[in-house]
């Protein structure tokens, strides 16, 4: 039934030049905005929201969803080429994408990311169409205790995955968690660590930190390398990877897609946790875990697939329960409301045509992103050939603009500059910067849910072990920390 309506709507959209024209424009703008450091998917949507007012609801949804889906891929372009994640979900893409680009294989890295995005996007959509109510049910069994433990698990896995020792990773992640506590206490609305300054009271924004710690730090690293600069990037040889290399990645893409959809469907979890889980998992399952962080294709394909699949996942709570799962779907829902449509439990029953429209929009957006992505890949990859001086001046400029634009406030520029220096120092100390950003993202979720669980359980910590999912997450986190120690102890014992 739903497939019939889907096919019908798809045909209808394809036969209306306005519709696919809108999707095309949306995808084009989305890729560019997503690639700009500092413009997250949320901001891209907020910027374009007024444009959608003049359109009818179906066209508006098509346009906005096109922007949403394509900005997810756009975010990985800057991650691969200049080591700055354009969107938070692209943070792990750069672990392997950037090294690959530095080896002269920017095209390969972008192709892995693009193909994985497409596969993940389609998996997310397929699960959304077929299993939305089931996925919603599963996501609803995630409550405060599970959220708290899921963030612990995510942080541990990420510290494990982001290169260097797990303990260094955890140390950096803990600093990130502390940074997330600056500003209003999320449960009591009382300011903390803000030194009575108005600027810090609103907390530390994610974007200036990300842009500074990855982008500006990279600029500083190149400056410090002196006039000769870092080793030159070899010329781009073959743009696309051989077909066999891509086909071999089907497993990481499939796993990433499924994880991404489910994690995306959990309200507030978001793509950051999805990509962290996928990356760590691929590293564990790999026969050659040591290649991760040096340009391993599976390290790009898995997380990229998860990142795009989380789009479909994040639409689940919106379409089934009328609740936005994350800030991005919140903007989509706002757009629906302004157009007089209320997404919610009644929407499926009352308006199947509209629901099919959303599905078709995701489908068109995924396919058009693939087409446009490949069409312009050669042009985009040329960024690697831009003279370094010019490239890094532009990046520095974009860092400043991106940080300022988030709240139209100079304070965020200072914060960006500060974290640029911090990021550079961390490079010198060989501390991985990514866990800091993940700590900042997940710290507030962790604290809020941990404390709320304790309010609900009236102070009993038992709540975390009584619930099966939460208990499993604790066990998995402990195993991740203790396993390397156990292996070490075992080897020493054997050596005796």
């Amino acid at each position: 039934m739903i497939l019939d309506v889907f096919a019908q709507t798809l045909l209808e959209y394809l036969s209306t030049p306005l519709m696919w024209g809108l999707a095309l424009i949306g995808v084009g703008i989305g890729i560019v905005l997503g690639a700009l450091p500092g413009v997250s998917s949320t901001m891209a949507l907020a910027i374009l929201l007024p444009v959608s007012f003049g359109l009818d609801p179906a066209a508006a949804m098509l346009f906005l969803i096109s922007v949403f889906v394509s900005s997810v891929y756009g975010g990985s372009i800057s991650a691969v080429l200049v080591n700055i994640p354009g969107t938070p979900g692209a943070i792990v893409t750069q672990f392997d994408g950037y090294p690959l680009a530095q080896q002269g294989k920017a095209g390969h890295a972008l192709a892995y990311a693009l193909i994985a995005s497409t596969v993940g996007g389609l998996i997310g959509l397929a699960l959304l169409v077929t299993l939305a109510p089931v996925v919603a049910q599963a996501a609803m069994s995630f409550r405060s205790p599970e959220f708290a433990m899921a963030t612990v698990f995510g942080l541990v896995l990420l510290s494990f995955a982001s290169g260097g020792s797990t303990f260094r990773g955890i140390l950096v992640a803990a600093i990130g968690v502390l940074l997330g506590m600056v500003g209003f206490d999320r449960l009591t609305d009382i300011g903390r660590f803000d030194f009575d300054s108005r600027a810090l009271q609103a907390g530390i924004e994610l974007v200036p930190v990300t842009v500074g710690i990855f982008g500006l730090a990279e600029v500083l690293r190149n400056l410090a390398a002196g006039r000769e600069g870092l080793p030159r990037v070899p010329p781009i040889g073959r743009l696309l990877p051989p077909f066999g290399a891509v086909a071999r990645l089907w497993k990481p893409m499939l796993r990433g897609g499924v994880i991404g959809t489910f994690v995306g469907a959990i309200p507030a979890a978001g793509s950051a946790i999805a990509v962290a889980l996928t990356y760590a998992q691929e590293k564990r399952l790999s026969r050659t875990p040591e290649t991760f962080g040096t340009g391993e294709p599976a390290g790009i394909a898995g997380p990229e697939s998860a990142n795009s699949a989380s789009v479909g996942g994040s639409l689940v709570p919106m379409m089934t329960l009328g609740i936005p799962g994350d800030p991005i779907t919140a903007v989509l829902m706002g757009a629906l409301l302004i157009h007089g449509l209320r997404p919610g439990p009644m929407l499926f029953a009352n308006n199947p045509g509209f629901v099919a429209g959303v599905y078709v929009a995701v489908f068109l957006a995924v396919i058009l992103t693939l087409v446009i992505g490949f069409g312009f890949m050669r042009v985009v990859a040329q960024i690697m050939r831009v003279p370094r001086v010019l490239l890094f001046c532009t990046i520095a400029l974009l860092c400043v603009v991106g940080a300022y634009a988030i709240r139209n406030n100079l304070i965020d520029v200072y914060i960006m500059l500060f974290f640029g220096v911090v990021g550079y120092l961390m490079l010198l100390l060989r501390l991985p910067p990514a866990p800091l950003v993940f700590g900042l993202i997940m710290g507030p979720i962790l604290e809020e849910n941990l404390r709320r669980s304790l309010i609900l359980s009236r102070g009993s910590w038992g709540v975390f072990i009584e619930r099966p999912i939460s208990l499993a997450l604790i066990a998995a986190s402990l195993a991740a920390v203790l396993a390397p120690l156990a292996v070490l102890a075992w080897r020493r014992w054997r050596a005796r």
């Binding site: 329960l321 302004i338 139209n408």
Partner: protein
């Protein structure tokens, strides 16, 4: 951002220099000649954001310039309100606020005192409601009270963090009916609804539009609406007044500017806003969004502000939230 400000500064300099009477009408024709920014103190997609974008859409038809919505979230809305307070009072930076601004002014040293802003127009009011999960077996408000009296703290209610509207609403119920709820804070309305649907909390003190669909579908039962009149989204649900309780608690959304705006400019904005809100399409679309539209001019806005202040100050005092500024 300096563009409009610079021009506006030049504009006010002209005003200062040329106090000649002929200058005045010329000036009011000059205003507005730059885009007008409306600051929303909450993230894109939220309640304040959507209503403001709707108003901005119609307002830009009434004015010769475009109207841009800026989201400046943070510190429970205090951040955005302060950005407007500190902006130049030239009529190019406006803001939208609700009861959060009143609450923050008493509990946050860095928040804007309400006499530092100037109300321009009211857009809508947002009555509170009380809803329970259907599977609690609570059928009406009397049963709710009975449950809470038999088991103090036994009702687990989802609400904002202290100072938010649904928190104030829960605190108001506790004070007025002398009961005790376990108030569990969530970051905003959407997570509270999620918690109610998932069964993590038993009740929620949210506004009607968030709950109406779930009420129709049967997961949730709205026990009463804390307004003078019934809410058009759920006409079958009685008001608490009808049940004989003096329980009227509503949030509001109003447009304001920094204090010290010139009367002419404020009037230009006030007229344009009132005209925008009286367009047919506006009312239709606003009601489709579930808004209780209540357009009012600057005087009405000032009155409403005082009225809300009178309502929530005692609640905040009882909840020990008046910490930095007394009345």
């Amino acid at each position: 951002m300096t563009g409009p400000k610079l021009t506006a500064t030049l504009g006010s300099l002209t005003l200062a220099a040329g106090l000649a009477l002929t200058a005045a009408p010329a000036l009011s024709q000059d205003y507005p000649d730059e885009p007008i920014n409306i600051v929303v103190a909450w993230p894109a997609g939220g309640g304040h954001d959507t209503v403001t974008r709707l108003v901005a859409d119609y307002l830009s038809e009434e004015l010769p310039v475009s109207v841009v919505v800026n989201n400046v979230p943070g510190a429970a809305g205090a951040n955005g309100v302060r950005q407007v307070e500190e902006a130049e009072a030239d009529g190019y930076t406006l803001g939208v606020m609700g009861i959060h601004a009143t609450a923050q002014s008493y509990m946050n040293e860095n928040a804007t005192a309400l006499d530092a802003v100037e109300p321009i127009a009211v857009i809508n009011i947002e009555p509170a409601a009380l809803a329970v999960r259907t599977d609690t077996g609570i059928d009406d408000f009397e049963e709710f009270l009975e449950y809470a009296r038999n088991e103090p703290g036994g009702i687990v209610n989802g609400n904002d963090s202290p100072g938010g509207f649904s928190f104030l609403n829960a605190a108001f119920i506790e004070n007025t009916f002398d009961i005790e709820l376990t108030k569990v804070p969530y970051q905003g309305y959407a997570p509270t609804v999620a918690a109610l649907v998932a069964g993590e909390v038993m009740s929620a003190t949210l506004p009607v539009p968030m709950l109406a669909d779930l009420h129709e579908e049967g997961t949730v039962r709205i026990l009463g609406v804390a307004a003078e009149d019934r809410h058009f989204r759920v006409p079958e649900v009685p008001t608490f007044k009808e049940m004989g309780h003096d329980y009227v608690v509503t949030d509001y959304v109003m447009v304001f500017g920094p204090a010290g705006m010139s009367d002419e400019r404020r009037e230009v904005l006030e007229t344009a806003l009132m005209d925008a809100m009286s367009q047919d399409g506006f009312v239709e679309r606003g009601e489709a969004m579930g808004l209780m539209l209540n357009p009012g001019d600057a005087d009405a806005a000032a009155d409403l502000l005082t009225q809300m202040d009178d309502l929530i100050y005692p609640i905040m005092e009882d909840a020990d939230l008046v910490t930095v500024r007394e009345r």
